[in-house]
């Protein structure tokens, strides 16, 4: 948790966001039927669907105002102005680490899961996270974030244009192959980045083991034991089906 002036600065910003949110909620609540008819039912104020949102929005507005006053009194506004003036002096490492985590989670959920075989999406995310944070080397982390980001941009272009459709028409699992190539490229990139460092070699080996073992256990458990269809079943999960149904 944040401490001292940093916390009060955050309180100042949050209270403003909450005030805006409260006003928006209040305006939206006023658009709901208060006394008019909805679905053949004549409304009175106390049965209106707007009643509870009104109470909640007023509560948020009151508390956000109290928070704002407290933040201003305890120097939150001044701390914000000061930090904006000295933005260049701020420690960037925690910010980069945080950005790297967001990149991994957001790309996994919004980019890869809906479009790429779930096994491949999982190994991409696992290897990225483990290599970036388990190797515990800030320069590798930074370079890997850039590399992974470039890969994500490539996939966005692929899926935003008719390119993915055309490729998949040529070969059913073309996008999965692209994802697999990206994974191989990432492994090669990490190995090259740690070349000559014997201490990191064992860690990369462990990262690869965890990357492959995790989906190899989880996917069959959910798919065949709990009967959960994976979000996207591409080439790799099709191979799993073949193996499962041939030995069953």
């Amino acid at each position: 948790m944040m401490q001292g002036q940093k916390l009060r600065r955050a309180d100042f910003v949050t209270s403003l966001i909450l005030l805006g949110f409260g006003v928006w909620m209040l305006l939206e609540a006023f658009k709901m039927p208060m006394r008019d008819t909805f679905g053949g039912v004549q409304n009175v104020w106390y049965v209106s669907p707007a009643l509870f949102p009104l109470i909640v929005s007023i509560g948020i507005l009151v508390l956000a105002t109290v928070l704002l006053l407290h933040a201003i009194r305890s120097g939150g506004a001044a701390a914000l102005v000061h930090s904006l003036k000295h933005l260049s002096e701020a420690d960037r490492e925690p910010l980069i680490r945080f950005g790297g985590i967001l990149l991994g989670l957001v790309s996994f959920v919004y980019l890869y899961i809906p479009r790429v075989d779930f096994f491949l999406a999982t190994i991409l995310m696992l290897f990225y996270f483990i290599a970036a944070y388990y190797l515990d080397d800030h320069s590798i982390l930074k370079r890997l974030i850039v590399f992974y980001c470039a890969g994500c941009v490539l996939f966005i272009v692929l899926f935003a244009t008719p390119l993915a459709g055309s490729l998949n028409r040529l070969f059913a699992y073309a996008t999965d192959i692209v994802a697999l190539l990206f994974f191989v490229a990432m492994v090669v990139f990490v190995r090259r980045a740690t070349r000559g460092r014997t201490d990191q070699r064992a860690r990369i080996r462990l990262a690869l083991i965890v990357t492959f073992v995790t989906p190899l256990i989880l996917i069959p458990v959910f798919r065949y034991f709990l009967r959960v269809q994976m979000p996207r079943e591409g080439g790799i999960i099709e191979i799993m089906h073949l193996i499962y149904y041939s030995i069953r």
Binding site: W45, T122, P215
Partner: protein, 507 residues
């Protein structure tokens, strides 16, 4: 006759579970999993319950509860391992345990400390279970007299009290978190007129937000971000020989154990505040009652016993409002409530009519879970300690995969994942800025209850709020809510101090 009949049903449930090898295996497995979850810094009992919920979708409600209560009990106890051996509490509930547990381990008495915490935790869970079985009928009978006004005020009380007691910074941050939870509960078509509220025209939001992905997002994602963002170096665990179940010490410390268990049950029964607060309050009470308070913090076994008894007794306490009123007593209980609703069990006063033996089954599970925890604690402590060597950056991405697959498995909706990530990121920022997550989660769960009961109550009273003042329980709840809110303002404290001075002068 009624009591004998209840005991008869309780023991027949117990016997059925003991002679069911699959159920026993599930119980021992989930308790062990819970101990591992609790022991690993960064993973919590709540997250354990949340993730295991996703594996219980296909089970019967009773079987699912064996697994979920097992991981809950094991998770709360497991936190003591890392607290004692590496001075990092595996869960917030074990934070007070590390104050005396780690100094004991430094003196070479780590095994003894673990033995004491294992036995104290088992006794705590057992006492909590006794309260569930004895108080539940009384509370559910009282709750049957409740009308919509009482249910609205009860839901509101749960959010306010949880916000007040769990806020690490300013009290009203807890209330803001509760209101944000209520906002999330409003999203979707309202329960009375089916009017779409804050759905933005998205059909996926019409049915409201799914509770499980929201809970997994709120508890899991901040944990993942926090552990990966802050560098965490695994500490070397203190060595210990064998765990000694010191019955002599336990008998000597019986008054402390009983006091701590009562504190744990009492705090657990208050909506929304969990095992961590129970541990701290009990530790403080033990220190105040001790003849040698100066020895606390230097390796006093009484401190370890007090904290661990209370945090496990809190489980039983948290089950009392959960089962009888439908209000979770702690964050893991909030997750249990979500799981119960998924399995078609609606906790509340009607539970004893809809599922007459359910509460007794829960108490039987709690009793067996405390035994399983004690046995596993005694036998597998050395193996559990090995997990403390696993670096968090290695297992946190796996937890992320489990969060994703678990949220998706509920209804096979990718939209649940789209929901989980923003909720998790917002919950992370809120945690960083001193907003507690428990009131937010309780707001999400109790929101529909508060909304519908308020409007239903006003419908019956034709828009009048007078029943709040004419119905005794409603009036008490209303006064407690007002007092809780007003007592946080400096004006109230100044007025109270002035009143005290005036009374002293008159005397």
């Amino acid at each position: 006759m009624f009591v004998l009949e209840r005991f008869g049903i309780f023991f027949s449930n117990l016997a059925a579970m003991v002679f069911d090898p699959v159920g026993l295996l599930l119980l021992f497995g989930s308790v062990f999993l819970g101990i591992l979850f609790g022991a690993m810094p960064g993973l919590t009992a709540t997250l354990g319950v949340a993730l295991l919920t996703t594996l219980t979708y296909g089970m019967r409600a009773e079987t699912a509860m064996i697994a979920l209560l097992g991981i809950y009990v094991g998770g709360v106890y497991g936190g003591s391992y890392s607290a004692i051996l590496i001075n990092i509490p595996g869960t917030a509930a074990a934070a007070a345990t590390s104050l005396d547990g780690y100094p004991l381990a430094c003196k070479g008495e780590g095994g003894r400390a673990l033995g004491l915490t294992t036995t104290a935790s088992a006794i705590g869970t057992f006492v909590g279970m006794l309260f569930v079985v004895s108080i539940s009928p009384l509370i559910s009978r009282i709750a049957l007299q409740f009308t919509s006004f009482e249910f609205f005020l009860l839901a509101f009380f749960g959010i306010i009290i949880s916000g007040t007691l769990t806020s690490p910074d300013l009290v009203y941050k807890g209330w803001i978190a509760g209101l944000l939870g209520l906002f999330l509960a409003i999203v979707g078509r309202d329960g009375l007129q089916f009017y779409p509220r804050f759905t933005f025209g998205m059909p996926q939001l019409e049915g409201g937000l799914e509770v499980v992905p929201v809970l997994i997002g709120a508890f899991g994602i901040p944990q993942i971000i926090g552990v990966l963002k802050d560098r965490f170096a695994p500490a070397e665990a203190k060595r210990f020989q064998r765990i000694l179940p010191e019955f002599g010490t336990i008998v000597r410390r019986l008054p402390t154990i009983l006091r701590s268990a009562l504190i744990g049950v009492g705090i657990g029964a208050v909506p929304g505040i969990g095992e961590d607060i129970a541990g701290w309050v009990s530790y403080g009470a033990a220190k105040n009652a001790s003849k040698h308070p100066e020895s606390f913090g230097t390796g006093d076994e009484e401190g370890v016993i007090a904290s661990e008894t209370a945090n496990n007794a809190c489980i039983g306490g948290a089950m009392i409002p959960l089962l009888n009123l439908g209000i979770p007593g702690s964050p893991p209980a909030a997750m249990l409530l979500g799981a119960l609703m998924l399995h078609g069990v609606n906790p509340g006063p009607m539970l004893r009519f809809d599922h007459p033996n359910f509460i007794l089954q829960i108490t039987a599970i709690l009793l067996l879970a405390s035994f399983a925890m004690w046995i596993l604690g005694m036998l597998l402590a050395k193996q559990v300690v090995k997990v403390l060597r696993i670096p968090p950056p290695l297992f946190m991405p796996i937890i992320a995969v489990l969060c994703v697959i678990g949220s998706y498995a509920l209804g096979f909706k990718i939209f649940n994942l789209y929901l989980m990530i923003p909720v998790g990121i917002i919950a992370y920022f809120l945690t960083e800025m001193g907003y507690p997550i428990a009131p937010l989660v309780i707001g999400v769960i109790l929101g529909p209850m508060a909304d519908q009961n308020l409007r239903r109550a006003l419908m019956v009273s034709q828009g009048s709020f007078m029943p709040v003042f004419t119905r005794p329980v409603a009036l008490i709840l209303f006064l407690v809510i007002v007092l809780t809110i007003v007592s946080q303002f400096p004006v109230y404290r100044r007025a109270l101090a002035a009143l005290k001075r005036l009374l002293l002068r008159n005397r």
